[in-house]
Amino acid sequence: MAEIGTEATPRARRRAAAVNEGGNPGGGWRDHLGSLAFLAPGAIFLLAITVYPLAATARNSFYDATASNYVGLANYKEIFSTSSILVTFRNNVIWVIVFPFLVTFIGLVYGVLSERIRWSTAFKTIIFMPIVFSATASALVWRTIFDLDPHIGIVNATIQTASDWINPPGLYPVDPSAGQSVAGLVATGVSAGPKDSLESSSTVTAGNPVELGLIGISPATLQLVGAQTAVVPTASPGAVTGLVWRDFSPSNPTARGQVLPDELGFPGLKLTLLRSDGTSAGTAVSDAHGDFSFGSVGSGSYKVQIDSSNFSSGFTGIFWLGTQSLTPTSSLNQTAQALLSVPLVDISMILAYLWIWAGFAMVVIGAGLASLDREVLEAARLDGAGEWQTFRRMTMPMLAPVLIVVIVTMLINVLKIFDIILNMAPGSSQGDANTLALAMYNFGFTGGLGNWGLASALAVILFILVIPAIVLNLRRIRG
């Protein structure tokens, strides 16, 4: 038995040597085989589904749409000369510049402030919870929030409420954005006045009722505000009287300029009596029949003004998911516009994404704060640093590695941004909100067979963009 080990046959010696090189004791080659068997499933997956495809994509990027004919750099040339693809770079740049820093800043603020409240666990849970939302679901939520219609979108609804409070809409809103105009209401005895108001066409005097006919407002609208049959008021000495009525008779459509029994008055109109020098001689509000009266005005000639406030449409909504640019680019040529404009939809999507990820930043930074060496901070306080100085000179520098981790993580995340754009930007904004990852998907997998060469080139560019992050990660792991 003793001889088995002592007998130094060449084979045994080789085996022992091989074992020793691996630092592997006694057990022989079987231990290696065991370890490698553990490694095998992971290695197969990684080699087949990530490592090899990485190389294959690099190859495909030099091939044509079907990945079968070599085309050299043609795909890359196309990418850098097509403005609709260049837009994706612009959007990636916007995301990369704005999002990581914004989310880290908010995470830092929340992380620091929430340490000081009693309900910090609840607060952190609320901020952190959206992390379980898929970008798809969150895009749909935020699409509703930013809806143009103030009856649906809470953002526009809030703005409308505030704006109506400051500048309430009139009874008869005229929405210029819908192609309507105040001047379009003119029918009989009125003409367009300054600033979306209307005026009687001729001067009026006391005792002579004036008839002002308007069209373009539906009977339904009028009935909603309590309109009744238009009645010409009786003349009253010393007072300017008159009526505003809907100068359109359903039974006699061509009869204009006469007050007919099936025509309605305009109730609730705010009117001003103007002297010839334009100053106000009094105000009045029309009644249900459209009648109004400015009492005791004395002699002289006036004009009756239907105030512009009657037609104010108030706030009608901002199209947050639209492509209007936040930077002035109209003076630039088309390519420069494509590259330099910042479409509003980008900002809206960034806000939606912020909602998902701020909690992540807060939690990571919060853990960083919690792991700081308290004694260092206490030493700083004993050395005479105030709270702000302690924060800026001690907490921030010690926290810097954590902040960098958050920024880099978010940077990689938004480089690959895809689902939120596909789902949140409406069809009309997709082209302007496009990103590299989305373009890669669109070129590769939509529209029939797709263009695999171009899509691969986009994927390669995406990979090149994350290489600095790979290097950083490796440095962090090794150092």
């Binding site: 290696h32 065991g34 495809p53 402030l113 901020i127 992390i131 901070l377 990660n473």
Partner: protein, 313 residues
């Protein structure tokens, strides 16, 4: 959420000056408590609005949607009804319906999660406790793979699936295994990274004791490393579950023309084809976040741990 809220160190010496308390040390500014609370309450409300809005929209009848904002239901709770859910559930398991999609999502997510966890544990075990040469290089490669965008693999994997189909008669493209395989591969680098870090914290002596006690590699893995790694595995499972559950891109491509769809595809198609059907979209979105929310609230501690361990992906 114990990980998130660091407790003040107990039993600080009595001699310590009062103004050196942790709270005041950590903070930059000293706004009055009231202002601080107001700012954070407003923030919390902002953060809650989207979720609450989504929930209410899904609980209001379709007819009310265009007429008035969902927030009117806050003062008129009688608006709320389960009818949207009833309508969707009444469809039953119709292909590409919400219930069918829910099941498809589970069919993809559960195996992908389990496979990633098991394979990651095996690989990490080999990397940490194995003694074969080149381990550290392999680990660095895996760290490098952590941030590789999935876009670089999509087209070649479709091609590989096709070749595999030609050879074996089974083309995974357009099937649930096809989606799972892709998810497993791209979940592995993070999974291995997380398990590697955890296993590295296990004293090597623990495994050495096992070896001396007579355990082979498989027994060491099953009896020592795997049970010790459970907390990390739990974090990984939760992370991976939510990751796969929320995926749209991989399912969109690799399910292809499959007659079943995941929940994310269901939602995506609803927005594309029936842009006005907010009630379906909102109800579907609520259903899609239901399971992740349960996971989030039940396993928050592990989830936070996973987030902290893998703040690299």
């Amino acid at each position: 959420m114990s990980v998130v809220s660091p407790a003040t160190k107990p039993g600080s010496p009595a001699t310590k000056p009062v103004n050196l308390e942790r709270r005041s040390l950590l903070s930059a500014i000293r706004p009055s408590r009231a202002i601080l609370n107001i700012v954070l309450v407003v923030s919390a409300v902002f953060w809650l609005v989207p979720t609450i809005g989504l929930a209410i929209i899904s609980l209001r009848p379709e007819s009310l949607f265009q007429q008035s904002g969902w927030w009117t239901a806050l003062t008129a709770p009688s608006q709320l009804t389960l009818s949207n859910y009833q309508t969707l559930f009444a469809q039953g398991l119709v292909a590409r319906g919400v219930l069918d999609s829910l099941i498809t999502s589970l069919e993809i997510t559960v195996p992908a999660t389990l496979l990633v966890t098991i394979i990651s544990s095996l690989t990490a075990y080999s990397l940490v406790f194995g003694r074969w040469p080149g381990r550290s290089v392999v680990f660095l490669v895996i760290v490098g793979l952590l941030v590789v965008p999935i876009q670089v693999a999509l087209i070649p994997v479709v091609q590989e699936y096709r070749v595999f189909g030609d050879l074996s008669g089974f083309n995974p493209f357009g099937t649930i295994p096809g989606v799972v395989i892709f998810h497993v591969a791209f979940g592995l680098p993070f999974g291995i990274f997380l398990m590697y870090n955890f296993y590295s914290g296990i004293p090597k002596e623990m495994l050495e004791a096992g070896r001396i006690d007579g355990a082979g590699e498989w027994q060491l893995f099953r009896r020592v490393a795997l049970p010790l790694g459970l907390p990390a595995a739990a974090s990984l499972m939760i992370f991976q579950f939510i990751w796969v559950w929320n995926d749209l891109l991989v399912a969109l491509i690799f399910l292809g023309n499959n007659k079943h769809a995941t929940l994310t595809i269901f939602l995506f198609e609803q927005t594309r084809t029936l842009a006005a059907n907010y009630w379906i979209i909102s109800t579907g979105a609520m259903i899609s976040i239901f399971i992740p929310l349960i996971v989030f609230f039940s396993f928050q501690r592990y989830f936070v741990r996973g987030v902290l361990a893998g703040a690299v992906k």
